[in-house]
């Protein structure tokens, strides 16, 4: 039983992350009066890239070759160590919020290095922008979950989920503030509107896409897949840390099954939110982004203030 649960926990994120990306794209297409590609298209894209040949710049160093594996490995291990549907694995991998945040920062750091590695102008551009944003996002991201950590007296994500699921409804106000802060950070970290346009072809406006512009074939597939994983990781965190209702606290089959269904429903709602947001607003001017990220930080601080 435990082994089955382990397998589900480890594969849930990488197996379903392309699907949720496809769902967001489908909803966006519907908003634009288009039929849009099938929700399984991201799987096909990744599959296609895995079968393709690679071109690697002569000037690229080992960082360029190594970064995709590292980034992918980070998303897989974080995917395996956050509360998804069961609290069985409360003390196994990297369950601490601070570890999760800085593991992600570690992968961002390598992605930015890889972007600059090949020496193309766009890569350097993307990296510089990504690092600017990452540094500004860190505050909001870290503190939004620290709000919950204050409530739970622990930075262990499973303990936080546990505490919040038994939190009385009237003390939820700070959690909502923290959630708003987290949402802003989520959009910035995963390269969505109003920070970055994931579907743009304009090299000059790109952030995340500019960094991976030099990649092709298998390594690009890994990076695309990692980006999808990261998106689903953030959605899961948003769904399960802030609103942990339904997570199975036992290994009872019915509980687990219900937990999985609720997980998909909650993540689906967040996908809908992202898609609606992307369909209704324009991207912000680059120099206005810090304002928004600062708002995220302030919201977290207010939430902490409400608790203390």
């Amino acid at each position: 039983m435990i082994i089955t649960l382990w397998i589900i926990q480890l594969t849930l994120i990488p197996a379903f992350s392309p699907l949720f990306l496809g769902i967001v794209r489908k909803i966006k297409a519907k908003f634009q009066n288009r039929t849009g590609a099938s929700i399984f298209q991201p799987y096909r894209d990744i599959g296609k890239l895995f079968r393709k040949d690679e071109v690697i710049s002569e000037d690229a160093s080992w960082i360029f070759r190594f970064a995709p594996y590292l980034i992918f490995a980070v998303t897989i291990s974080i995917g395996g160590s956050i509360p998804l549907f069961t609290t069985t694995f409360a003390d196994t991998l990297f369950n601490d919020w601070l570890v999760v945040v800085y593991l992600l920062a570690f992968s961002t750091f390598f992605l930015a290095l890889a972007g600059m590695d090949a020496g193309s102008a766009f890569g350097g551009f993307g990296s510089s922008r990504e690092m600017t944003l990452a540094a500004l996002t860190e505050g909001g991201l870290l503190f939004s979950v620290l709000v919950l950590a204050f409530l739970a007296h622990s930075t262990n994500l499973f303990t936080i989920a546990d505490t919040l699921s038994s939190l009385p409804l009237f003390s939820f106000a700070p959690v909502l503030f923290a959630f708003a802060a987290f949402l802003i950070a989520l959009l910035a970290e995963t390269g969505r509107f109003p920070f970055d346009n994931p579907s743009t072809h304009l090299e000059l406006t790109m952030i995340h896409e500019a960094m991976v512009l030099e990649y092709s074939g298998k390594r690009l597939a890994l990076l695309e897949w990692s980006a999808a994983n990261k998106f689903l990781i953030f959605l899961s965190l948003g769904a399960n840390i802030f609103f942990p209702w339904g997570i199975a606290f036992t290994t009872d089959l019915a509980d687990i099954f219900l937990a999985l269904i609720l997980f998909f429903a909650k993540v689906g709602i967040l996908c809908l939110f992202v898609a609606v947001l992307e369909s209704s607003i324009a991207k912000l001017r680059f120099f206005r982004l810090p304002d928004l990220l600062f708002t995220s930080f302030i919201l977290s601080i207010i939430a902490i203030g409400l608790i203390l």
Partner: protein
Amino acid sequence: MTVDQIREKYISKKYEVKQDGNVLSFQVPPEDIISVCRQLYFHPSLQLKTITATDERKAGIGFRILYAFGVPKENIFLVPFIVLNGKEEFPSLTRAIHEASIYERKIRSLFGLEPVGHPNPRPLLLHENWPSNIFPLRKDFHWQERPAEANGTYEFRKVEGEGVYEIPVGPVHAGIIEPGHFRFSVAGEEIVLLEARLGFTHKGTEKLFEVFPLGEKVTLSERVSGDSSFTHSMAFCQALENLSEIEIPKRANYVRVIFSELERLANHCNDVGFIMLDTGYSFGGTHGARLREMIMQWNERLAGSRFLRGLNCIGGITRDISDEMCGELRSALTTMRKDFSEMIEISEDSSTMLNRLEGTGKLDRQIAADHGIIGIAGRSVGLEHDARKEYPYAAYNNFDFEIAMENAGDVRARFNVRVKEIHSSFEILDQALRSMPSVKDIAADKKVEFRKNSCAVGVAEAWRGDVVYFVVTDADGKISRVDVRDPSFLNWHVLGHAGNGNVVPDFPLINKSFNLSYSGYDV
């Protein structure tokens, strides 16, 4: 004003004036040309329409440089010209009239005539692999000759300083667009200098105009800039009609108005959509593209060509619009106009979108005026020029509409000019479709013969700005030179000015708000 009054008002008595259709030409000694042009350009402030050259060495004349100035409302063009007797240089006008610079550089590159006193006579259009001593528009250059590669280098302007770096973009881009190279010198995210390098689609169009048979010349003019096919061929046909005094049937003039407004509508809708899409506002982007597609499908139905090709002929038009079709089109346009107004209303509620447009890519009015900027870019800084009003051609005299004006010069202003022009196009179309003259003829039934040793100007307002064709005939009445001036030819030179000081991620938006033609520039 009659022609005599115009002559009296603008041209000094000491010059002998020759009238050819809509052109009043007079020879000026080379030493006087600067003061004559200056007089025309600044005192009555006539618009400089084009400067071009002809190679008439075979006829024993030598090179001629012609300067075309337009007299608004009169549809008359004053063309002072100089003859270079055996010399290969001419006095440069650039220090007196800045916008002359680009024309003189073009003449220098393609004819090998040196503008003496030009402050910056860099080559234009021709690639550095083209030998610098071969001049394609000279008559002794055969159009099929392939010179050896010269392996020259192109020098970009350099910016130096701490933290300043260069980003090369293009000529191959990520989207399906034309080729052009942009060199950004950037400090952080701010653009310090932007240099656009064009010429990658140089097709030798002006040379081909001299080579192709007459019927194919019209087809060629449709290929100068694909999205303005109809207006280009209309301007060219108008020049030829001026050269041959052919009478155009009334109905053909109305049909020409209808098609050129449909062309404007399709392109403006597309641009309005794309400007919004470049800010990431997908709602506007989708609906702009949808409206354009609806018009393109109407084009296909009416003309058999989505880009309205094969319609203009010398003396009229090849395809009529039946009265039933007129009615159907009118009701379809009413629906489209309603959709469009609704779409703009919703979009203008989006503060994030408008915030991206406002203050971005601001073009200074004086810079625009000095570069002779026309069309949308000109009207967005308050330069009130519209060939439909100034040189009323086809049936434009019969319709009531306003020139769309804005003053701010930013992306928002260019966006607004387009929105206003879409509304005025709908109005013109409605008026034209209601009042189509009920004659059968759509093309003059007469053999085309051109005046000998003559010249003519054809002007038409394409959606970007006015297109100018300058056509010269030789002693046999054959077309010996066609000069094409697409609006993009002038407007490309201020894109850098509009981009400076903005952040790099805003550049695609600024570029889109101009949406200039590479092909029209490179001819």
